[in-house]
């Protein structure tokens, strides 16, 4: 059976439908904006993260340059001291026993993939024109799993590289500048002077023109040859983990495990991370402000209602309704307005998200990076309910404190 409190609350709301609707619409706008804006932020953050992860692994393990140590003063007493300028010591950058390291890393919990890479600085030559850049030597399939290279390919196939020991996949900028096409030969000179003739087996175009003008992919062995080293020469191990947000913690662990420098993607892309934070905070503030206004809307209307209904509250209390009954009645009224507003708000936000997700932006973004976010929606509902509860509770408490005698004696 419906309780009498519910019945009174419903009758109150139904007898002033317009006011109820106006208060509900306040919540609608608040919730819709909250969900819409936060979905927007989440979508663009996700897009940016993905863009970062196309060139950066979650964690990169490499050998940091070491500075040569100055010799100390001889403490034996003959006062001979050798002074030198500290410099980067010219030791090779390879990781010792990379296969063992890789095996150890792969054993770690939460590691989704890990692979060996060789970074090499080099020059691309075609005839007289020369272009500097760098190459990443790898097993192209492992690299693809990490960076989704396939999605950036505009010509050629990754598979061809597997079967072409001297194959190279170059950025579209390099191809333009050196007027290279598929299966053209390009002469590569590495930083230590090794010259190698390679065949273009693919052209990629990423979102970053600088990358397109300098970067290329090749087989691990080819990169090792360019460095004049054998198959044990590996400069980097790239590691992807389950939750990229945990990368900085995980990096410390990997550093302890391997003894080499482990750099997480956040510290490699601080600007991105800062931009993400700013976006999140900015839109968070805006959406909260809108929600707060909606809360004030409900507060205002409940306050007005209660001021108009002092007589009714007095007689309810006289006929045996307790203070908590009165609170229940008015909280229920604001809750119903909140639920109504939230429901309409969900519809509105879904519509606007859907509309925006069909807006074409261009470049490699394609359509606007926004989608239905269950977490944000859930948060929106919770926050909306919280705001309405709070906005309803304050006036309702005031109503509960109404002294009927004061009303009757007037």
């Amino acid at each position: 059976m419906r309780s009498v409190n519910t019945e009174i609350a419903l009758t109150h709301l139904l007898s002033r439908k317009r006011q109820t609707l106006v208060a509900a619409l306040g919540v609608t706008i608040g919730i819709a904006m909250y969900i819409f804006m936060n979905s927007l932020v989440m979508g663009s953050n996700r897009y940016q993260d993905n863009a970062v992860f196309k060139t950066t692994p979650h964690i990169r393990i490499y050998k940091e340059d070491e500075m040569s140590k100055p010799l100390r003063a001889d403490s034996s007493g003959n006062n001979k001291t050798v002074i030198i300028n500290p410099k980067i010591s010219n030791i090779t950058k390879n990781l010792v026993n990379p296969l063992k390291l890789l095996e150890d890393i792969k054993k770690q919990k939460d590691v989704t993939s890990a692979a060996l890479f060789v970074n090499a600085n080099l020059f691309y030559n075609n005839g007289k024109s020369q272009l500097d850049g760098n190459a990443l030597g790898m097993n192209i399939m492992e690299g693809n799993a990490m960076f989704d290279i396939q999605s950036t390919m505009v010509d050629g196939e990754l598979k061809i590289l597997l079967n072409t020991p001297n194959g190279i996949i170059i950025g579209a900028g390099i191809a333009d500048k050196l007027s290279l096409k598929m299966y053209d030969n390009v002469s590569i000179i590495s930083s230590i002077g090794v010259i190698k003739l390679m065949k273009v087996v693919g052209i990629f175009k990423s979102s970053n023109t600088f990358t397109d003008k300098s970067k290329s992919y090749m087989n691990l062995a080819a990169a090792q040859q360019l460095q004049g080293k054998g198959p044990n020469y590996v400069t980097d191990i790239y590691v992807d983990i389950k939750d990229p947000e945990q990368a900085s913690k995980f990096a410390i662990l990997l550093h302890e495990l391997t003894g080499y420098t482990a750099e997480d993607w956040q510290s490699a892309n601080e600007l991105f991370v800062a931009g993400k934070k700013i976006r999140t905070i900015m839109f968070g503030c805006i959406s909260w402000a809108i929600l707060l206004v909606a809360g004030f809307g409900i507060y205002n209307i409940m306050n007005m209602t209660i001021a108009q209904k002092l007589n009714d509250i007095a007689i309810l209390k006289a006929t045996g309704f307790s203070g908590s009954d009165v609170v229940k009645i008015f909280i229920l009224e604001s809750l119903i307005m909140g639920i109504l507003g939230t429901c309409i708000g969900l519809v509105f936000s879904s519509i606007s998200i859907n509309l925006l997700s069909h807006v074409y932006i261009g470049a490699d973004i394609g359509y606007f990076p926004i989608q239905f976010e269950p977490l944000v929606t859930f948060q929106g509902i919770c926050v909306g309910m919280m705001v309405t509860l709070f906005a309803g509770y304050i006036p309702a408490r005031k109503a509960a404190k109404v002294d009927p005698i004061e009303i009757f004696r007037k």
């Binding site: 009498v4 019945e7 009174i8 009758t11 007689i315 045996g320 307790s322 009954d325 005698i405």
Partner: protein, 231 residues
């Protein structure tokens, strides 16, 4: 016939502090009996309404003790008091205080729905019965605001009676009515007290109304000066 006491006070006193400390009630001790039609009269400011609100359990700031139906009321929690009012006391005021959004029927039913002792169907039947007694059954489904003053007051009386309370308390119940409606309301009170055995305690300044009641207590300056005023 032995008289059953339904309400008893002992030494009730009350102060007002605003604007200056002032003793509004002083050592009020009396009893009201079952089926009695009791009126409280006195000049403006004599404390009769103040006393009624103390008796009503809505005012809790007083000294002395109040007993309703043998149960000590003084010192109970507010929630308990609300439950006691719901069950034992009906109210009729100078103004009807009907809830404007509800039909007359719903207005009458609300205290009984709150009590929750009977199903809403039974309550509805009961409400129709008392509306018939009061001659307002035709207005049952109209909103309370659409009725005339006399009809509204009768609906308010029906609301006061719905839970079969031991006591019905009235503050100037006829203060807003013409003489014809006053007579009707008075007859109803007579019937209620005689036929249903409910006690009526009414504050009034209408001497004719008081004269016709069973007993009249007169107050002056917060004290009872006459327990059984004869006109």
């Amino acid at each position: 016939m032995k008289k059953n006491s339904v309400l008893r006070t002992s030494g009730i006193g009350k102060y007002f502090y605003d604007p200056v400390k002032f003793k509004a009630l002083d050592d009020i001790t009396f009893e009201a009996y079952q089926g009695e039609f009791l009126t409280l009269i006195g000049k403006s400011g004599s404390g009769k309404s103040t006393l009624l609100y103390v008796l009503s359990t809505m005012d809790t700031e007083y000294e002395g003790d109040l007993f309703i139906d043998g149960e000590k009321i003084t010192g109970q929690t507010l929630d308990k008091l609300a439950a006691i009012r719901n069950k034992n006391i009906g109210f009729v005021f100078q103004f009807h205080y009907l809830l404007p959004e509800f039909s007359c029927l719903k207005n009458i039913m609300i205290p009984a729905l709150k009590l929750g002792k009977y199903s809403s169907k039974e309550i509805e039947e009961q409400a129709y019965k008392s509306m018939e007694v009061l001659g307002v059954q035709d207005q049952a489904l109209k909103p309370a605001a659409k009725l005339s003053g006399g009809q509204q007051q009768r609906v308010a009386i029906a609301r006061a009676m719905i839970n079969n309370p031991k006591i019905i308390m009235c503050d100037e119940p006829t203060g807003n009515l013409d003489s014809k409606n006053t007579q009707i309301v008075f007859d109803i009170f007579q019937r209620i007290s005689k036929e249903f055995g409910q006690t009526i305690i009414a504050v009034t300044h209408d001497n004719d109304f008081a004269k016709a009641s069973d007993r009249t207590i007169e107050l002056a300056d917060g004290k009872i000066i006459n327990h059984d005023l004869k006109f």
